[in-house]
């Protein structure tokens, strides 16, 4: 069986950055497996700008951002195999792969980095009633059709969900001559970045209906109408609030799910809150020698953060291959008031420092993030503004970690006692 020190599953931004980081730590024998016909992952279809401000201090488009990493990988001995599907990963780090060039091949890996990214939730996942006509796409599928294959998917468009891909597609379809009638969001707040509300909807006078959803789909062959209704606090449609839109296209931007079929099959422990692997501070999963980074671990807002996290995983995989293991007793991270999940979910007490990534469950103004060791507060971070659509992060230095007494820390939101209070009710 062919052997590689490190096999990275996925040649998107996470996989490229992880492989490069491991290479820089002296790992020579690295293979990246990519199922598409080119590396770069989803960035290839994200032709809009706004990537790389943290990383490169300039504003790049998706293909430019990916291109920088692809060029760096080309200067190394890292092998990139495209058109290659991983069928199965087992607990002994054997990968069963299939590709036109190599046929079926089993590969033994010293360490594995999971970097498969995420996929879109579909109509089936949110159970929209109505006709099963054509003209209903996930926003990302429409984005690929338009930006890579060169097909317009429709002329009169309604977008369900205000996630970033939906917002970006509202602008993109408008610029290409389509009429985007509305963006409809079930929640009382947008799931996308505020800047995208401004530059993708407001710039083109596209209305955003918060606390609304699609309640019927009509059309014989092609989509003809969608019905949109307001929802109450329990997200149930309110009768009598129906609006009918004549449209030929419905784009769904209703969330992303980490793509963990391979991880589950291998027996990697999955966190039901992130739908990604449970990881240590070095992004190692429950199976030793298997690491995870990027959107397969938890869905990120910014590729810059994906790159940073992936470098951490790449370095950790290199350390693992060099026989270095993190030390210290296990401390679990728990989600307190207002916190939806944390990554990592656990860490070794001996860690040099700890950066905790998490999402809040509601919009908060003038609130604070508290890290609790039992009843004792060990750190507090003020935040003017927090929203579920924007990932939060806090960093705990080693001095604080050394002082931890319990076997778990809780991350929680302290709601405001001054000013306008929180959570903020939305119109």
């Amino acid at each position: 069986m062919k052997h590689y020190d490190l096999v990275v599953i996925g040649g998107g931004p996470a996989g490229l950055a992880a492989a490069l980081a491991a290479y820089e730590q002296g790992i020579g024998n690295i293979l990246i497996l990519e199922r598409d016909n080119q590396a770069g992952g989803i960035l290839n279809q994200c032709i809009h700008n706004g990537f790389g401000l943290h990383r490169f201090k300039e504003e790049l488009t998706g293909p430019e951002y990916a291109g920088r990493f692809i060029e760096l990988v080309k200067q190394t001995d890292i092998e990139v195999r495209t058109d290659t599907m991983v069928l199965e990963l087992d607990e002994n780090r054997v990968l069963h792969t299939v590709s036109p060039q190599h046929g079926y091949e089993a590969i033994q890996a010293g360490a594995v980095i999971l970097a498969m990214g995420c996929r879109e939730r579909t109509r089936g996942a949110i159970s929209i009633p109505g006709a099963r006509c054509s003209g209903i796409f996930t926003a990302g599928a429409a984005q690929r059709f338009l930006n890579m294959e060169g097909y317009m998917v429709g002329k009169r468009v309604v977008i369900l969900g205000s996630g970033d891909i939906g917002l970006i597609m509202a602008r993109r379809m408008t610029l290409e001559g389509a009429k985007v009638l509305a963006c409809v969001e079930l929640m009382p707040y947008s799931g996308g970045l505020t800047r995208n509300i401004v530059q993708c909807l407001n710039d083109f006078d596209i209305p955003l209906y918060l606390s609304h959803t699609v309640t019927d789909i009509r059309g014989k062959n092609r989509l003809e109408q969608v019905v949109v209704s307001q929802v109450d606090e329990k997200r149930n449609p309110i009768p009598g609030t129906e609006m009918v839109f004549d449209c030929d296209t419905l784009l769904l931007s209703v969330g992303l799910l980490p793509e963990n079929e391979l991880s589950r099959q291998a027996g990697v422990e999955i966190d039901p809150r992130t739908n990604g692997p449970v990881v240590w501070e070095n992004r190692e999963c429950s199976i030793p020698g298997v690491f995870a980074c990027g959107n397969v671990l938890h869905v990120h807002d910014l590729v810059d953060y994906v790159s940073a996290e992936s470098e951490q995983a790449g370095k950790a995989a290199a350390a693992y291959l060099q026989g270095l293991r993190p030390e210290g007793p296990e401390i679990r991270l728990k989600n307190g008031n207002g916190v939806g999940y944390t990554v990592p979910q656990r860490f070794h007490k001996g860690a040099e420092s700890l950066e905790i990534f998490f999402r809040v469950r509601a919009i908060y103004k003038n609130a604070a993030i508290r890290v609790m060791d039992g009843e004792a507060q060990i750190a507090r971070f003020k935040r003017e503004h927090m929203a579920p659509g924007e990932m939060e992060t806090v960093k705990l230095p080693k001095v604080l970690l050394d002082r931890v007494k319990g076997d778990s820390l809780t991350v929680e939101i302290e709601e405001s006692t001054v000013g306008d209070g929180s959570p903020v009710p939305q119109a």
Binding site: T194, R195, E390
Partner: protein, 113 residues
Amino acid sequence: MKEIICITCPKGCHLKVDEESFTVTGNACPRGAVYGANELRNPVRVVTSTVVVEGPQRRLPVKTDRPIPKGKMFEVMEEIAKVRITGPVKVGDVLIPNVAGTEGNVVATKNLP
């Protein structure tokens, strides 16, 4: 005072801009001050799109190499729609100089072999 959200980076600072002096508060970085003042005087945007490739890759992504006046976005799109290329093209190659009289150039954002 006009309240706007900065779109310079994904952070999305909530800016307050004085309508007379164009002074900006609430920005976390100097780019926000520039954006806030410009947004009231002459709003500008980078336009990204694709051009037709006469070959198997079908589309090549492009952008304006600087922000162009917001009101010119659709004119720029019309210019981009006229382009047909075969390659080779490198990232940064100018495909349309001074697009729609904006002084911005439309440049490739991906290599085309």
